[in-house]
Structure formats: C-alpha cells, structure tokens
Symmetry: C2
Subunit: 699 residues, 2 copies
C-alpha cells in the first residue's frame, strides 16, 4: 500500500530547477544524492538538462510512466500539473507547493480542485504545503530538507515540516536516532495519518510509528485504524494544539466536563496509541522501541556505579507504576560473590564508583538471567576510573544474547559520548538522564498492555428505536431541541434503562391521585420543557408523606417555576416513586466531540460533579471492557467497591447502563448532549435507577 510513494520505479520532479537555492533544485539534488536507483525525470519547460539529467518539458513527454511525481511549482500551476500527471497515468503525487488551505479562501478552493482531479484520475496525494517524503531503505529523499536522516527503524510522520527540519538536524548528530520513513503530511488533503499507519503496519523496516499531530478530523476512522495497527507495532503520538473549548456552546454538565483534551485522551487510549507530552518524550521513547526487544513484564533491574542516579531512576519507575525487580536469593548471593563488600547486591545493584567494565558485565549477566527481571537499566557516571567505552562494549555484547531489553544511562556529556556511540552500534539507546530511561520502560510496558488488550467486545441490546424516533419527531415538531424529563423517560425505557415509577400530573388533585397509586412517600418535580436544572428554581420536593403534603408541594413548585422562569411552559409536576437514598449517585452523560463524535462520560454524580470533576470518558461505540474500565478510572473508584463497611455497588448494572447509552448515542447521532444525573446505583443485585435524564438534539 502506498508503495508508489515509497518504492517507486521512477520519479518525476515537476518544477526541477537548475538554480541552487530554489526548492526545485534542492528536491532534485536530494533525490539524486539520496542514491535513488530508479529513473529520475526533471520536468522543466525551460531547460533541456538539469544536474546532468535530461529534462522534459512536461510529464506527457516522458518515455515511461513514473510511479511518483513531486510537484514544486507555484500554486496556480498545480491543478494543471495534476491533470497532466493523471493523463500520464501517475498514481502518486507529493505536492510540496504551498498556497492552499493554509493560505487563504482561494487557496482552500484550489486545494479542493486538486482533490477533485486526484479523485478523477485515481491519484493519491501527499500534501500540499509539505516538506516531502523520505524512505531511507529505497533509498529516496524527495524533500527540500537539508540532508537525509540516518537509516533506522522509526517511521515518522508530521503535520509540521519545520519541526522535521529540527528533528533531522538532531538525528544527524545523535547516534541512536535512525528513521525508515520520514513523511511530511502538510495539509493532509488526501493521505492522512491513517493511510500511513496502514501502509507501515506490515513494513519490516519500521519497528515503531511516530506521529506529530495537530488535529484528527477523521476521528472515528483514526480509532479504528490505529487500534488495528497498534496490535502489530507501537504508535507514539505527540498531539499539540490548544483548542478554544470555550467557543463551543455547552449547556450540560457533561459538556462542560468534556474538553477536547479529554476526547483526545479517551480516543487515543481506545486507539491503542501512546500519547506523549513533549517532543523529547516522543523521541526518548521511540529510541527504546527502535531496536530493543519488548518488555515481558514491569520488573526492572538497575545497575549503577553511583547511589544518587540509581535512586532517581527508582523514583521515576515508582512514579510510573513500574516495579523494581526483586532478585532470587541465589542471584543476590552470586552478585555478592563477584562484587566488593561495600557494593549493593540488591536492586539497584551498586557496583561502586571504582567499577571497571568487568563488574558491569558480571552484574548484568547475573541480573539479566534472573527470572524476576524483565528489563535492565545500566547507569554509568563518569568517575575517575570509569571505563566508558569498555563498559559500553561489555553491555552491548551481552545484550545481543538477551531477549530482555537493556537501556543505557551513561551520564555526562564529553566522556559519555564515546560510550553512547558504542551502545548505539549494538542498538542500545542511551539516556543522559536515568529518569528518562525509566520513563521509556514505562512506555514499553504501556505498549505491551495495549498490544495484549482483547478486541473490544461490542454488545448490542434489543431496544426500541422506533419509540425514540417518535419522541424526537414530536420534539422537533414543536421546534424544540431539548428533550424534557417526561419525554426522556420514554427514551430511557426504549433503551432498557430502569426508572423510578413516575407519572405526569397537570393539577394538584391529579398529583394526589397518582401519589396514592404509587404509594407514599413520593417526589414531585416541575415538568417543563424550558426548565433544565430543576433544583435551581426550587422545582423539586422530596419525601412527601401524604396527600396534603403533595398538594402543597405541587402549588409551591408551580408558583416558584413561574416566578423564576416567567416564560416557561409548565405542564404540571411529575409525581415519582421515592427511590431509596442509600445508593451512590453517579453520572452518565454524553457530549459530541467535533473530531471523535459521541463522547460518553462516567463519574461521581450529584452536587459533587462540578466540584470534583471526577469523571472519565470513552468515544462511542465502545466494548464491555471499556465500560468496566471506566468504573475503575474515576478517583472515587473505591466507593464503588465498597468502603468502610458499605457493600460494593452493582457494577454490572453500571456497565450495562454505559453500554446501553453508548448504543443509544451511536444509533442516534442527532443526540448532541445527554445527562443522567444522578444515576443512583445500589448494592450488588439491586441495580441502578436513572433519577433524572435530559437530552439535547442537534439544532
């Protein structure tokens, strides 16, 4: 897939120039100097020969059809060049030229035109407005970058070409940062992250996929594709971009809780993507995946010639939820036998400041052979007697025989550098700060958990979609988008949610009649399509124990509602069964994320919702495992397991509610916001009851 881009038979450079300094010159020079083995065709109507190659006035004149064309001409000529490529039968085009969506409204139209042409001729397009693409194995450098990065196993894509120039510059100096692919996506008019992920999933030259992303317009597709690809190799993403969440109109609890960042976190988790917080973390972690075997567990051994750095690495392991390996007694004894008395044979192993390479070799051999060790960090501080190069060699040689990952933490600069080079030759990444090696191991542990995650078990319940459609039609017929409580009840019932017994009463006398049939005590709630937060207007009365109380409450509630919201249409009051209050109040909600679609929320409910914001999210649809995980992700999770003698909550009822809501918001994309708050969950076996539910439809 996309082989026409990365392994083309031949390349045409449309806009190849003979003037050094021009982009068209740099791109051609890069293609040639990268050692590309196919035919290279400079296209330039004003030259017959460029850089010792025969130049052609147009692609129509080429003696063969190249798989790939690179366009580096002014934007107004791009559509025409695309058409010529199409006529010639070229199937892959990289548009480096800028002046499209990123520039102006006319540019946006021009970009749409390019896409039209591409569709017509069945051309795939990378760009426009990009740096170009590199494949270090083909080899092919079709960019205007200042050089080709070293060969390696990292496949990198980026929405920012400038960022790539900086990374290229790093890679040229670093010894352990090599790339298989290096792609600038530009405006992503056609080829996007998902296309490259699929293309690289089975590429043996790429061990890890890296992406710098500013936005994911095709959110649901992204989740689907990434989930599939992340089973095969790790995907590390740096997502940047501050969103103006304030600009979205938000009226529900859920909406105000779910910022765009929460959506990205949930979506990336579901997609099996490792999200990093900074450029440094992105590349630090990538280097660990590039050539080291994966961790099989989370138990790490540390070997060090100084106490302090060993503690720093231990701290970071602990902060990341990793474990310091506990060695077998026999391992400890053997380490003791091989080290001076003052050394530490327990983890972290301190081989002491005067350790030569032999002590490191002995310690690593023993530690790596211990069945309780899943990975090793070798810390080397440059002390007076330290043999930097020999130690790196000893570690490197040994690591070749191991199926456990080994990371280096040779600290310092001048003296460490020599060791870093040696380690790199064995595929061992080095970290100048031992904390970063620990963090890289944590990323590896995270990836292994992702890879081994079962496929989400998508559950479908038998529901009554027609009933819901009917309610929505009625609501819309009245020109409304917000769905009142009485209407919400019908929807909840159709999707199998449990509700308290409830009936609408238009008058106080009707309310008494209903209460008599439900049984006392009851709750009265204002029924109005125009009042969303009932308690705010004194629209709720609980614990009404007899007919007289119900009568008084009805009058009071209606009076208050009219006073606070003078224009409200008031239907009367809902008379509800007073459900037991010995449950835990939680919230289940949904808001619509512009990139990922329906985002379902679970968290602590009641008045604590806004104070604590103790919530977690999933993009719908999601599986049973996700629903179960959500219960454990809130900070108050132990409350659901039972604390201080309280019985555990009915978790199954919560899981089912989450899944039913996930199904509802997937079935009805017109629902833009939804809250059940509170959902009262009782002890195991007693289920959960939705006490209040509201929905807002797309306007």
């Amino acid at each position: 897939m996309l082989d026409a881009f990365f392994k083309p038979n031949a390349v045409a450079i449309i806009g190849a120039s003979q003037s050094p300094g021009k982009l068209g010159y740099t791109v051609l020079a890069n293609v040639i100097e990268s050692g590309f083995r196919g035919n290279i065709y400079p296209i330039n109507p004003k030259a017959s020969q460029i850089y010792n190659l025969k130049a052609y006035p147009a692609v129509a004149d080429l003696p063969e059809t190249p798989d790939l064309a690179v366009i580096v001409i002014p934007y107004n000529h791009v559509p025409n060049a695309m058409r010529e490529c199409g006529e010639k039968g070229i199937k892959a085009v990289v548009v480096i030229s800028a002046g499209f969506r990123e520039a102006s409204v006319e540019g946006m139209e021009r970009e749409l035109e390019v896409i039209e042409i591409a569709k017509k001729y069945d051309i795939r397009v990378i760009g426009p407005n990009c740096l170009g693409i590199i494949d270090t194995y083909t080899p092919l450098n079709a960019t205007f970058a200042a050089g080709t990065p070293p060969q390696g196993t990292i496949a990198f894509m980026s929405q920012s070409g400038a960022l790539q120039t900086a990374i290229l510059d790093w890679s040229l100096a670093a010894r352990d940062l090599g790339f298989s692919k290096f792609v600038s996506l530009g405006n992503k008019a056609d080829v996007a992250e998902t296309d490259l992920m699929l293309a690289w999933a089975d590429d043996p030259e790429s061990h890890v996929i890296l992406a710098y992303v500013e936005g994911v317009p095709n959110g649901q597709e992204f989740i689907k594709v990434a989930r599939q690809v992340s089973r095969k190799k790790p995907i590390l993403v740096l997502k940047s971009g501050v969103t103006e969440s304030g600009s979205r109109a938000v009226s529900s609890h859920t909406g105000s809780l779910a910022g765009s960042e929460a959506a990205y976190d949930a979506a990336f988790y579901q997609a099996g993507v490792l999200r990093l917080d900074s450029l440094q973390e992105l590349f630090d972690n990538a280097r660990a995946f590039a050539n080291q075997p994966l961790l099989k567990g989370d138990r790490i051994a540390i070997i060090t010639n100084a106490g302090g750095p060993g503690i720093l690495a231990t701290d970071m392991l602990e902060r990341q939820g990793m474990r310091l390996a506990r060695f077998e007694n026999s391992t400890i004894q053997q380490i003791k036998d091989g080290l001076p008395d003052a050394a530490s044979a327990v983890n972290p192993v301190d081989v002491l400041g005067d350790a030569l390479s032999d002590r490191y070799a002995a310690a690593l051999e023993l530690v790596a052979a211990d069945p309780n060790v899943d990975g090793v960090i070798c810390i080397v501080t440059p002390q007076a007697m330290t043999e930097i190069v020999e130690t790196a060699n000893a570690i490197g040689k040994l690591s070749q025989r191991l199926d456990k990952p080994v990371l280096g933490a040779f600290m310092g600069e001048e003296r460490a550098k020599a060791g870093e080079d040696v380690l790199a030759s064995y595929g061992i990444p080095n970290y100048k700060f031992p904390e970063h090696a620990a963090r890289a191991f944590a990323a590896m542990r995270d990836y292994v958990e992702i890879r081994d995650r079962p496929d989400p078990e998508m559950v479908r319940f038998d529901v009554d979609q027609d009933a819901v459609k009917k309610v929505f039609e009625d609501v819309r017929a009245e020109g409304r988008v917000s769905v009142g409580e009485a209407e919400s009840r019908a929807i909840a019932k159709a999707y199998g949610l449990r509700l308290p017994q409830s009936e609408l009463a238009a008058t106080a006398e009707e309310a008494v009649k209903v209460a008599d049939s439900i049984g006392y005590p009851v709750v009265l709630k204002i029924a109005s399509p125009d009042i969303l937060h009932k308690t705010d207007v004194g629209g709720v009365k609980v614990g009404l124990g007899n007919a007289s109380d119900v009568r008084d409450a009805f009058d009071l509630i209606v009076y208050r509602a009219q006073r606070y919201v003078p224009d409200a249409r008031i239907w009367g009051c809902l008379v509800q069964e007073m459900v037991p209050t010995d449950g835990i109040e939680v919230l289940v909600g949904m808001s619509k994320d512009p990139q990922f679609g329906p985002l379902v929320t679970f968290g602590l409910g009641g008045i604590l919702v806004e104070a604590l914001k103790d919530v977690t999210f999933r993009v719908a649809p999601f599986g049973r495992e996700d629903a179960e995980a959500m219960l454990d992700e809130i900070r108050a999770h132990s409350l659901l397991r039972g604390v201080r003698g309280r019985p555990p909550a009915d978790r199954e009822a919560l899981v089912e509610t989450l899944l039913r809501i996930g199904q509802m918001v997937t079935d009805f994309p017109e629902i833009v916001e939804m809250d059940i708050n509170p959902l009262m969950v009782y002890e195991q076996g007693r289920g959960a009851v939705a006490l209040d539910m509201r929905l807002v439809l797309k306007s």
Copy 2:
C-alpha cells in the same frame, strides 16, 4: 559565613600524595591547577616535596595556620588528623575520606568521634565521604573531580558526589551551565544544606541555589532557613528517595493519607523552595535564573519561524498555568508592517520559515516593548535559509537592553550549536525543546510568587493548655496512648473548638435522662477507649426521636460492641445533640512526619475521605495565609465556595479550626496522630462543629 571554606587564606591537604591515580594526588593537583592564590601545604610524613611544593609531615609543622584543611587519608587516621587541625587552630575541614556512617556501625561511631573533636575545637566540617568543594571565583577546586566546571552564577550542593561528576562533565560541554560553588555534602555530619543556604544568601557571585537532596533530617530548621533565604534568591531542589511509608505504623485516616512525599511537598512549599521532578528540570530551570532578569508577570510572547514548535510551547505554557501575552493593537500593526503577509502578527508571532535575522530582531524589539509582555521565547528551527548565528546575535544584542527575560529555543543539534554558543555569550540559555523554555518560565513565575509571599502571620489563640495536660496525664495513667471521644471533647473545648452538646450515659435510663435535657432528636455513640472506628461495629445510631428509641438504641449498641470487640472496656454511650446535616463534611487531622514533625491535613470528610483522598497538607506551625490556601487547594474547593445554589461555607470557621489545631499539635509534640472527621461546616456565619475527634499520643 563559612568563608574559611570558600575564601581561605591557605589550604593544607592532609594526605597529599605524589602518586598520580591516588585521591590525595588528584586533590592537590586540582587545588594547584584551579589557580588558587593562597599558600598550598601538602601534608605527608613520607615526602619532603610534592608537585614542586614543600611538603610537611604534619599540620603542626606548618609556618602559618591555614583556614582550611582537606583530609584524604584512610578513615582510621581521620580522628587524629582532626585533632591536629584543632590544635593548630584550623577552623574549616573538608573530610573526603570514606568509611564512616555510610559504611558500617563502626564507621558511624567514627563519625560521631570526628564530630566530638570538631565541637571541642570549634571546627566546621564538610563531609565525610564527599567529593570536596569548589569555588570558581576564589578560585579553588578542592575535590578529586576530573576538572573544574566553568565559572557561572549557579551555587550547587549535592548529597551525591557521583551525580556531581556527571554534572561536571555536562557543564564542560554546555555553554550556558556555569557554577559559582560546587559542593559535595557527603554524610552531612556537620555542615548541611541550611548552612550553605545561609552562607550563599548574600553571595553576589551566586544568583541561584541548587540542591540535590536525599533526606532532610532537620526538617523544621530547613523550612525556617529556606523561607528566609528564598526571599533573596531562588532555591531549586531535586529531592530523591523512595520511602518505605508502609513501614510506619499508621492507624488514622490522616496517617494513611500523608505519605512522606506529601510532607516534602508541603514543607518545600512552606520553605519557598522550588521542587523539581528530574535532574533535567533542575538544570533547565537553573539556567533561566542564572543570568536572565526575573519575570514581572506571567504573560509570555513567542517568536518562531515554524508553527508546530510555537504550538508546543503554547501548550506547555497553558499546562503550567501561564498566559500567552495579548499584544496591544499598535504592536500587532507594527509587526504586520514589518513582516510578509503570510506571517502571524499575533502571539505566537510566526516570522515564517524563510525568516532571516532581521525579521527576528524586528519582531523581538516590538514584542519586548509591548507593556503586556513579561518575557519572550525565541524559537528557531534550522530551515534552509535560517541564519542561526546572526539571529542569535541579534537576539542577544537586543536582550542586553531589556529588563525582561528572553529564553532561546534554537532547535536541532549540529546547526543549533553555533547559535547556542552565541546566546550563551549574552547570558541567554538555550532549550532544544521549546516546551522546556516554557517550563523554565513557569518556574520563574513560581519563584516570583514565592519571593513576594508575605511572611506567615502566626496567630496564637488563648487556650487552656493545663486542661489538655490533665487529660493526657489521665490517659497515660491508664497505660493508654489513644484518647477516647469523651476525653477528646475536653481537649477540643480547651482549644476553643465547637462541639455538639454531649454527655456520657452509663445506662439506658441515664441516656434517656440526658436526651430529655438536650432535646430530641439525639445521636447515640458507643463510648469505649478500645473502639476507634465506631461505625464499623455498628456503634452509632442517629435521629433517635423519643425516649423509647434511645433506650432501644443504647441496648443494641452496647450489645453489638461487646460482640464485635469482646475485650473492649465499655463506658456506656455518648448521648449527643443531633446537629443539622445540611453542612459539608470535611476532615482536619494531623500525623507526625519523621523529618518535618506535625503535618496537618485538611480535606473532604466522611466516607469520601478514603475514596477520594482529596486532601492537602501543611507542616505546623503555619500562618493564616496557609490555612486559607489549604481551603483552595483541595479538588473539591468549589464546594466550599457554594455550587448549584448552595450557600458558601463558613470559611473563616475552617481557617480558625486549622489554626487552632496547628497550635495544639505544636504545643503538644506528644500528639502523634489526630483526626476530626467529620468536621461539619455550615454556611457562612453558622460555623463548624467537630462531630468526631480522636487522638493518639506518643507511646
């Protein structure tokens, strides 16, 4: 202060050796090669001349009394050498030799002996078991390190000498990492962090104090000294060390909530110390403080030649609670006038990929002159046309005229390096990752907040200490350490806390009598010194509305208590006023931290305590501002300000309770644990009532 160490008239090296490779040789060589201008006296009974210097058999033989002696002889000779120094009148000794507290029990005794001798002769000691000390201005390098770090304004102390060797190695390669002092503290037998902080507080050569710390045994002293010094210059600390918090016996809520990390966080906050999470952060931030002026606000401008890195820096600023500066309209217009159309004149200013140094200069000049800008980050990606060195020069020159800090983010490696060197010559630190520049600005903002913090206003209430003493005596007289509820009431009253009316009833009939006098409804609680968590044994009954209910509840509670805790001494039941339940349940507690002493906790109370762990901490004594800040530090802080139509809580009552508890645990260091849970706080003006209180005394 400590001038004898850093600016000595002369130095004796006891154990100076003529064999290269020996520590005594390296130390002597370093002293000489560092350019020390005073007399240097090698002490070695077996040599008459070392390194062209006359050697002396003993310090007694010296022609003058040097201020400083450095001891590098085997540990068993150290006490004797100390004595000789004392007799000669030497007042400052650095003991490099190892084999003391860190090695064995005998070593510990030897260390105590050294301290005895030091006290007798009034000698200050750095070490033992350390790398030595460096002052780059004197200049003096009295260490066995492989070189002297570049001169600069960072004063660094470390408990790990090996870590310093790595940092030294870095500093030799980096252009913007220079030190004024470089001290290895070793075992801290005498001179500790606090001594150096005081000594460096007024040192004009040191702009920022850095410390790598593994433990702070003198916690209260540390807070006092650091608070004082941090008004004069920033103190940045990396604290490492995983504590076995599980090993501490903990029986209260508070105790289990307050790990040692919480104590460090609270103490460092109160001390005005900036705590960093990693070595890299420590030095990244130190470089910003080293030569740049301080921020006057938190509004940052970014100038960049690429969008992506600008977004990354913006993200980090936002994550750190900093603000992107909003320029004046006139500034935006002027930037627009000076830049191409496609550039962005709003923050972040994008000078575009083809920007030469003039565009950076123009943008920086305008942006820095804007009154809404407090600091500037200049991001430079190495694109084809980028003028790295010229741009660095332009930024550097301009920055000299500014009283606002400027940080560089020249990205990449090979090409960036030249720019880095130029920036360094102007005192501008460079960050390879723009996120780190943003983080450094956040640290600066944090420091300015610390510096401007008012001194804590220590409040003392009029209390009845004698009443408390009496209770404690009674408790101890019974061989107990845990204080029951009835006894706790007396203590709470003595310290002015409000309690519900309550009386002990030994029989059911007495209980009815008490209830009659308090008024119904009442609460009954088991009264037993052996039952701490009353609800766990069914020992609490609420809402008892009449005499018959009280009688039944009494019998049931006592029966249950006897069944669950067969050996418990049961005094009867407390009959309590049923206080209104419309308040918010919070917790105030205290546990004893081994390093910092009484650690007071505030947080959400009731059953949520353990589920949410929503708590915050202060080391007592603390001032009114701290108590007020605690209310805002819990996640549920908005609950106290009133949410969803609920009235705000009586914050003043909470503040006063915290201050009174802070006073109590300071007055009575024998209190090792204390809980008030719940403390029910009502709306403003209605105060707070301690519903349940318990204490544990030191055993």
